[in-house]
């Protein structure tokens, strides 16, 4: 009885410690030329890093904060979907932030496009 109780205790302690929740973002994979000339009026978020930190760009509009990016994305039509082009400079967290902003803005079709070095 003590054996069983002790093991149950260990089990619950362990699973509580180990069971950290994870969620997900589900982008499609595009080629490095995705969102280019072959696509009609592509909506593209560029993710770069400069001296001041992570930079998100839609057309000529620049954003530093993910919330502002999400606000801007809400103004765009959802049907064409969204391309997120991530250039080599920033960390993965910036790419995830852009995709999260797209999800928050209601885009169901998000395509991740690897940016070319120096692009």
């Amino acid at each position: 009885m003590i054996d069983a109780t002790f093991l149950l205790l260990c089990y619950f302690i362990f699973t509580t410690a180990a069971g950290r929740p994870e969620d997900r973002l589900s982008p499609q994979l595009g080629g490095s030329r995705g969102g280019g000339a072959s696509d009609l009026a592509p909506q593209i978020v560029e993710v770069r890093r400069d001296a001041e930190g992570d930079l998100f760009t839609i057309g000529t509009r620049n954003f530093r904060q993910r919330d502002r990016l999400a606000e801007a994305l809400r103004e765009l039509p959802r049907e064409p979907g969204l391309f997120v082009r991530v250039h080599p400079g920033p960390p993965v967290s910036a790419a995830a932030a852009a995709m999260q902003a797209a999800a928050d803005a209601g885009f169901e079709r998000v395509t991740y496009v690897p940016g070319e070095p120096g692009g």
Binding site: M1, D3, A4, L7, L8, Y11, F14, T15, A18, G19, R20, P21, E22, D23, R24, L25, S26, P27, Q28, L29, G30, G31, S32, V47, V86, H87, P88, G89, P90, P91, V92, S93, A94, A95, A96, A97, M99, Q100, A103, D104, Y112, P114, G115, P117
Partner: protein
């Protein structure tokens, strides 16, 4: 010679059930723990702190790829090159049909490494991935 008089009480075989209960409990705990461990047997990474899509669990991903902070690709505790990743992805895709791999990338890993990983997966015929995030903010 004196013989003890036979008792008139009915003979019953009393079995001690304690060991049986003990073993059943142990087995139960073993299976519960191993099931939980199998689900949690994943690499320790500082995932991007995002809410995610909050859509609940998906289907079996077929392949789980870890990307460390230094840009190393780890599959089932083994470090793999991009070429090896391509081979594994093609094989899993051949065996399981269309798959949507889970990519668990450290939030501090360079996007260049993630780009290379995604490009390799795409060239292996995979059209979409699931990027794991940790709802933390």
């Amino acid at each position: 010679m004196r013989f003890r008089a036979r008792s008139n009480r009915p003979r019953t075989l009393e079995q001690d059930l304690t060991p049986l209960i003990d073993v059943v409990f142990q087995l139960l705990i073993f299976f519960l723990t191993t099931t939980q461990l199998a689900a949690q047997a994943q690499m320790e990474l500082d995932l991007p702190r995002e809410r995610g899509e909050q859509r609940g669990g998906g289907r079996d991903p077929g392949l789980i790829v870890n990307l460390t902070r230094t840009g190393e690709i780890v599959i089932l505790d083994s470090t793999r090159s991009l070429q090896e990743l391509a081979t594994i992805a093609r094989r899993v895709r051949l065996e399981q049909g269309e798959i949507r791999p889970v990519v668990r990338a450290d939030r501090g890993a360079p996007a260049a490494a993630l780009n290379a990983l995604f490009t390799t997966l795409r060239e292996s015929g995979i059209e979409g991935v699931t990027l794991a995030v940790s709802p933390g903010r």
